[in-house]
């Protein structure tokens, strides 16, 4: 069979998510790119569907080889979409994703030589690290996340929605396929680090989309930790949170894009009072923010409750409390974003007024696009039966008083902290070095190595001849 497929609930739901998000984005885009003409507009309108096609083929493919091919192709499509707005971010994205795909292919080759098959599923211990590194670049594991904040914040909004909503989920999907007894502790550790580090970084951001990008890392941490539990409940919980996060994070990115479109900036320090000018955008933001904060009635509550239940069930109390704390941090961060962008009094002298007053029609299209993920977020929050069922839970368990209390407690704690820390959060922080610094330094060092190598081509024949003779001597030693 030339195209082996792996069709189960897991892959079909992911494929459905891809289609759903693409529909959302393609409704939203005409309201966003109305200032563009030519190539850019063509790419924005058609490429999401190519991305959708390759992503669906990727998640449905039955071996790691095809999975990697289609994932790489979908990254290539996104690369073109990013390159319209920012070529250097696009290059960073392309190279990082290629690195991930190459590692994944190496892992696949190793898997094949070890087992004689590349069927998708858990892999033996000796090639696990290659798979985790390869998928880790996609899913923004610690240190391997170097590309994510820059790319997410510099891409155009529909692209960031697809990136955060689905592209990183493909990495998570692959990680989900790897889950076995071997992966448990590693994933738990990685997930906890991601959750804490992501939310910590998000708290000091003032760029709306960068803030959301860091929350993506934090929420991916939840998913990875849930997969790390290793029980069916943990898997179902991670699965549910991946889908829920795809929807509400796409919604948040789209509302941030709407905000940027209307107010002309995405810098929180210059925003304010947007709830008055764009009430609908505020409503959509609120849905997304409540969902990501785990407010009962939204999808985030159900999925996070499942994750906590899984952690509790398996006795991982440390991880449980870490995620509780991260939940409170998430609330603080979104209170900050909501307050600074929508609720507080408008800042005097905004740096840039919007270039052109957007038409009514484009507003409507954007809002219509955002209805879809908002609707799904609320539905999944009220009727989480399907996902709870795959983990062996019933809906009533999720809405137990203790769970609701735990979630509202986190919300209250977060709100309290926000009120307490408001002034501090509003001020500027000095940039703290991050993994992307490593990349910048690495590129410089790498360039120097290349220059040094090139100086070997000095054009002097005696050097060349000496090297040749030296190589001969080394060869004779090696062949001895």
């Amino acid at each position: 069979m030339i195209f082996p497929v792996a069709i189960d609930t897991f892959s079909l739901t992911f494929a459905a998510l891809a289609v759903y998000l693409t529909i959302t984005v393609s409704i939203y885009t005409p309201g966003y790119d109305d200032h563009m003409r030519g190539y850019g507009r063509f790419i924005y309108r058609t490429f999401p569907w190519a991305f959708c096609l390759f992503s669906c083929l990727g998640v449905l493919s039955g071996n790691w080889f095809l999975f990697t091919i289609f994932v790489e192709l979908s990254s290539l499509v996104l690369f073109f979409m990013i390159s319209i707005s920012d070529t250097s971010a696009a290059k960073l994205y392309l190279l990082s994703q290629l690195a991930g795909a190459s590692l994944l292919l190496t892992g696949t080759a190793m898997l094949y030589s070890a087992t004689g098959s590349t069927a998708i599923g858990p892999v033996p211990r000796n090639c696990l690290w290659l798979f985790l590194c390869g998928l880790g670049i996609k899913a923004a594991f610690p240190v391997l996340h170097f590309w994510l904040p820059a790319v997410h914040s510099r891409a155009a909004t529909p692209t960031s929605a697809l990136l955060s909503g689905f592209a990183v989920k493909i990495g998570v999907f692959g990680t989900g396929r790897l889950v076995s007894a071997d992966t448990g502790p590693t994933l738990l550790l990685l997930g906890s680090i991601m959750a804490v580090y992501g939310v910590g970084r998000a708290l000091i951001q003032h760029d709306a989309k960068r803030l959301l990008a860091w929350h993506t890392i934090s929420q991916l941490g939840y998913i990875v930790a849930a997969f790390g539990v290793g029980t069916p409940l943990g898997f179902a919980a991670g699965f549910f949170h991946a889908i829920a996060h795809g929807l509400f994070k796409a919604l948040l990115f789209l509302s941030a894009g709407s905000l940027e479109k209307v107010c002309g900036t995405k810098d929180l320090k210059q925003l304010g009072g947007a709830a008055g000018t764009t009430p609908l955008t505020f409503v959509f933001f609120l849905v997304g923010a409540l969902a990501i904060s785990g407010c009962p009635g939204f999808s985030g509550f159900a999925s996070k409750t499942m994750i906590k239940a899984a952690l509790h069930e398996s006795g991982n109390t440390t991880c449980y409390w870490i995620l509780q704390a991260v939940g409170a941090g998430t609330v603080v961060s979104f209170c900050k974003m909501g307050y600074m962008a929508f609720l507080r009094k408008p800042v005097k002298n905004p740096a840039r007024p919007p270039k052109r007053a957007p038409g009514k029609r484009s507003d409507n299209l954007r809002n219509l696009g955002m209805v879809l993920p908002a609707f799904a977020t609320i539905i999944l929050g009220l009727v989480p039966g399907f996902f709870a069922g795959t983990g062996g839970l019933d809906t009533h368990y999720l809405f137990k008083t203790a769970n609701i209390l735990s979630a509202t407690g986190t919300l209250a704690l977060g709100l309290g902290l926000f009120v307490f820390l408001r002034k501090w959060l509003e001020t500027d922080k000095d940039p703290i070095p991050d993994a992307d610094m490593l990349v910048e330094k690495g590129v410089v060092i790498f360039g120097n190595i290349c220059s040094t190598l090139q100086t070997a081509h000095c054009g002097m024949l005696r050097v060349y001849i000496a090297v040749t003779v030296g190589t001969g001597i080394v060869l004779s030693l090696l062949l001895r």
Binding site: L73, T106, A109, C450, L453, Y464, I465, V467, T468, T471
Partner: protein, 496 residues
């Protein structure tokens, strides 16, 4: 008999061209074209013979253990196909560029074609060396044929280093003859098995170093970037596309026949050289501003991939290496021809200096992009497939290190090809969206070479898809099986 024709036809053309020039003072383009077609037909006939029914032909009626035997089998056939396609493409480009003017150029060109066929067909070690000498001298002259000082200098360097390679190869051959008294490549595997280990070390060092130098593998690649970047476009394309593959063939043939069963770490050394070439080639191409030099360093890296495949020492690995050799011929000839065309119209070879692509066919840039994507390894294209197969078999046979080098190389090559492609595409897009008024100042014209490169681009896609097709895979596997089948080769040559 057809095997002899594959060598004799281009050789005859090479000698007829000066005669024609002497008698009629001009060289009609159609005559060179007919000669090219004749030698292409002879080469393809030999390739078909080799593929369908492997055959040997004895020269001069001498018995195989005394005389020279020409053999075409399933390892020689794909290389024969590859070189004949490369020669034909390069000839079309030359005819398009220079017409029938430079008769010396064409004489040397056909001499080169004859010697390549000879190397691919011969089963006699000394005869191989002789053909190698013709091959090398013709290549030095072709590199220098534009007579610019860069080309002369590159040709001179190529001459000195190539002669060193030939010297080592000759030394190896001489040591073999001293140790065994045999030069027939089919009889040698058995004869070498009783040679003392120390002698074998010297022999293998000399042969591997000589052939690696001709191949352009990393620590001894110094002639390659100069030669490939200073020569004229058709010659660069031929050098990168076909010439180095001939040396790859010789290296594969000799190391499989002589050292596969006789131990020694020859294949390990080939793998090490391959890994070094991949990393070294890509690192040197990174930050390279001259497009042709960048492509030349990229050739070093691609040779590395092929060497890693050969170093697997298994049928599957060698098959993957041959597949990559064919793919690299398609991609690199296409890259050299399109970039040569673009550079001539833009008037610079520097990537940073490409500002305005007036007169460049946007289709040419698109074709260049396809080749760049293929050589970086974007999935459905052939470069990805062959790299994947090499990676797969090298993990099985030689461990994880070559595979990681291939993975790292992919990323570096993506980085530098991204630079070239974005410079070209960016300027084309700017031009098309900018003022439309001056577009018709010098309007781009469709040329035969762009038709050929377009075909190559389609072939890149088709080859990539065909690699997933099981019958194709098994026929490629038969190439590798032929390469490691020492007894089969002996049976074929000795007619037993």
């Amino acid at each position: 008999m057809s095997l002899v024709l594959a060598v004799v036809t281009p050789l005859l053309c090479a000698f007829l061209i000066p005669v024609f020039h002497l008698v009629w003072k001009t060289l009609p383009v159609c005559l060179v074209g007919v000669m090219g077609l004749a030698s292409l037909a002879a080469s393809l006939a030999a390739a078909c013979t080799g593929w369908v029914s492997p055959a040997a032909s004895l020269l001069g009626g001498w018995p195989p253990d005394l005389g020279i035997v020409l053999v075409a089998d399933r390892l020689a056939a794909p290389f024969m196909l590859l070189t004949s396609m490369g020669v034909a493409t390069s000839l079309v480009c030359s005819l398009e560029k220079y017409g029938g003017g430079p008769w010396r150029y064409y004489a040397i060109f056909f001499l080169l074609a004859a010697s390549m066929n000879g190397i691919l067909l011969t089963a006699d070690l000394f005869n191989l060396f002789v053909f190698y000498e013709i091959f090398s001298v013709a290549a030095y002259l072709l590199v220098a044929s534009s007579m610019s000082w860069q080309a002369m200098e590159a040709g001179l360097k190529y001459l000195v280093l190539g002669t060193m390679g030939a010297l080592f190869f000759l030394l190896g051959t001489a040591f073999i003859f001293m140790a065994t008294g045999i030069l027939n490549m089919a009889l040698l595997p058995e004869a070498l098995s009783v040679v003392p280990r120390e002698t074998l070390t010297v022999i293998s060092t000399c042969l591997v170093l000589g052939l690696a130098l001709k191949t352009g593998a990393f620590p001894v690649h110094f002639w390659l970037p100069d030669a490939h970047s200073s020569a004229q476009t058709p010659v660069s394309a031929l050098l990168s596309g076909a010439l180095v593959k001939v040396s790859v063939y010789a290296l594969t043939r000799i190391s499989c026949l002589f050292f596969l069963s006789n131990g020694g770490g020859v294949f390990r050394v080939i793998t090490i050289m391959g890994v070094l070439s991949i990393l070294g080639g890509h690192l040197m191409a990174f930050r390279q501003d001259d497009i042709k030099r960048l492509l030349a360093f990229s050739t070093v890296a691609q040779i590395g991939y092929i060497l890693v495949g050969v170093g697997c020492a298994s049928a599957a690995g060698i098959a993957a290496a041959v597949f990559h050799a064919i793919n690299h011929m398609l991609m690199k000839m296409g890259l050299f021809i399109t970039s040569g065309d673009i550079c001539e119209r833009v008037g610079t070879r520097s990537i940073r200096a490409i500002k305005d692509t007036a007169g460049v066919l946007p289709a040419n840039v698109a074709i260049f992009t396809v080749f760049a994507l293929a050589i970086v390894g974007v999935p459905p294209l052939n470069g990805f497939m062959s790299k994947w197969f090499i990676m797969l078999f090298s993990v099985t046979d030689t461990g994880l290190c070559p595979a990681l080098a291939i993975a790292a190389g992919t990323i570096i090559s993506a980085a530098y090809y991204y630079g070239v492609v974005s410079a070209l595409v960016g300027s084309v897009v700017r031009r098309n969206t900018g003022s439309p008024g001056n577009n018709d100042l010098d309007s781009p014209t469709v040329s035969a070479s762009s038709v050929i490169t377009g075909t190559f681009a389609v072939l890149c896609l088709l080859a990539g898809l065909a690699a997933l097709w099981p019958p194709m895979q098994s026929s490629f596997l038969s190439i590798g099986e032929t390469a490691v089948d020492i007894e089969g080769y002996a049976r074929l040559v000795l007619g037993k």
